[in-house]
Amino acid sequence: MNRKSNLTKPILFLCLLAAIISCKTSSRQDSQKKMAVVISTLNNPWFVVLGESAAQRARELGYEAHIFDSQNNSAKEAEHFDNIIAMGYDAILFNPTDADGSVLNVQRAKTADIPTFCMDREINSRDAAASQLLSDNFTGCVKLGEYFVKQMRQKGRYVEILGLVGDNNTWNRSNGFHSVVDEFPELVMVAQQSADFDRNKAMDVMETIMQANPEIDAVFCGNDAMALGAYQAVLAAGKANRIKVFGFDGSDDAIRAIADGKMAATVMQYPVLMARKSAELADQLIRGDANFSHKMPVEVDLVTPDNISKYLPQTTRP
């Protein structure tokens, strides 16, 4: 009798422990899965579209989704990753601030079993991210370069305004353009300067360059915001009829500028497609299917006055 009562307490304790563990496990299984959307900056409408589209698709797929703004600050980005890892998110849809500096954050998330999907901006790593979905900037600028050469009739003096020098997209665009244009020796680049993807900076840069080089025939800019800034400078200098402006992005303003004859061409990117596909791949991986490439270029399209009607209003092709 006495022996029986001695065993009762440990058995009851074990039952209670098992109940607590099973409760905890089932509550974890039942709780809604979460995706974090970390964006380099929400100060730029392009990235707002990217972030909100990713979050929206994640919600459509049944996830809780939260957007984190890194404010173009790598320290802030690292802080977000600390919190995301601590809070046990299931995946990260990530638009990095820096191709090299952001690798460590992605690696830390991987170590914590949280897959990261880079959107639009690349990190310099083969396998830290589960996948990287990136606009095919190089190919887009090869097409733009070919069109540029034909518009310029293979000769003339031009300016290149670069984006952020620490961003791979800047160089992939520039390299694609130069892989074509540099093969034509009568096309001479008179100046190449960065304006950090910023419209106002591009306007200042273009004004300064035009003062030093009055005979310019064209300007190629690494994004549409800079192209529109450069156009303002060109317009103010009374050279809008002479200097052809080329951009990249396919922003609504640039599409309208091409339709109005203010810009010569741009390249259309598809941020909504990129963001939605990133969320879908994250969902696919969480469900156990990792059958996709680590790097996924997303096709872009050349937009010129010849095909502008296809892009008014903005579409989400391809």
Binding site: E122, N124, K143, G166, S293, P297
Partner: protein
């Protein structure tokens, strides 16, 4: 007293010197641009691709007339069977080979009437983009640290096309000559199929015996 003063003086001088020597101040953007330079040798990679991998793509390439017939009759099947796509894209790249007679030579291309009655244009001026790299199906994007290196392969491969194929071809090609060719072409799913397909040649043998 004097010793103490000397020790303090040494400390006052030495500590800032040691601290200053411990840091190196650099412009962040310049530093980032420098560190981004990788050691990837695109020319060496392209040469290996040209000498060791390309032959397999040429060997396995479909006949130009057979592919063109399929592209005209059933584009979806042609894309599925022979097209190579990268990432999320509507553009597919094809490798194809064939025989024909040169029917025109101009500054941009050499027009060839194939034995099956089709016309193809061998590019000689606008050798750009990724048709050769991606059409070959021999270069795996996942093996590259970044897109910059991957894209450098296309630039280097296109240089080899100019050096090893088109530079000789433009000099030797004349209307009426027989030609054997192999090359890569691109076609977008939602664009109409052109009357004559543009091909970046990776191999061209013309009847005067000159082989590229």
């Amino acid at each position: 007293m004097k010793r103490k003063l000397i020790k303090r003086l040494i400390a006052v001088v030495a500590i800032p010197v040691v601290l200053f020597a411990s840091f190196k101040i650099e412009n962040l953007q310049v530093y980032q641009a420098q560190t981004r330079q990788t050691t990837f040798d695109a020319d060496e990679f392209a040469n290996r691709f040209w000498n060791e991998k390309l032959a397999e793509s040429i060997e396995n390439a479909p006949d130009a007339d057979q592919l063109l017939k399929l592209l005209n009759e059933n584009q979806e099947a042609a894309f599925r069977q022979y097209g190579k796509k990268l990432g999320i894209s509507k553009t597919a790249y094809f490798t194809l080979k064939g025989f024909g007679i040169i029917d025109a030579v101009n500054d941009e291309f050499i027009s060839v009437a194939t034995i099956g009655g089709n016309t193809v244009e061998l590019e000689t001026a606008f050798i750009f983009g990724n048709a050769v790299r991606d059409g070959s199906g021999q270069v795996n994007i996942d093996k590259f640290v970044n897109m910059t290196d991957f894209n450098k392969v296309s630039i280097a491969v296109n240089q080899l096309v100019r050096k090893k194929v088109t530079s000789h071809l433009t000099q030797a090609a004349q209307k009426g000559q027989a030609i054997e060719f192999c090359g890569m072409a691109e076609q977008k799913e939602d664009e109409p199929f052109p009357a004559s397909l543009r091909i970046i040649p990776v191999k061209a043998i013309i009847s005067d015996g000159k082989t590229e």
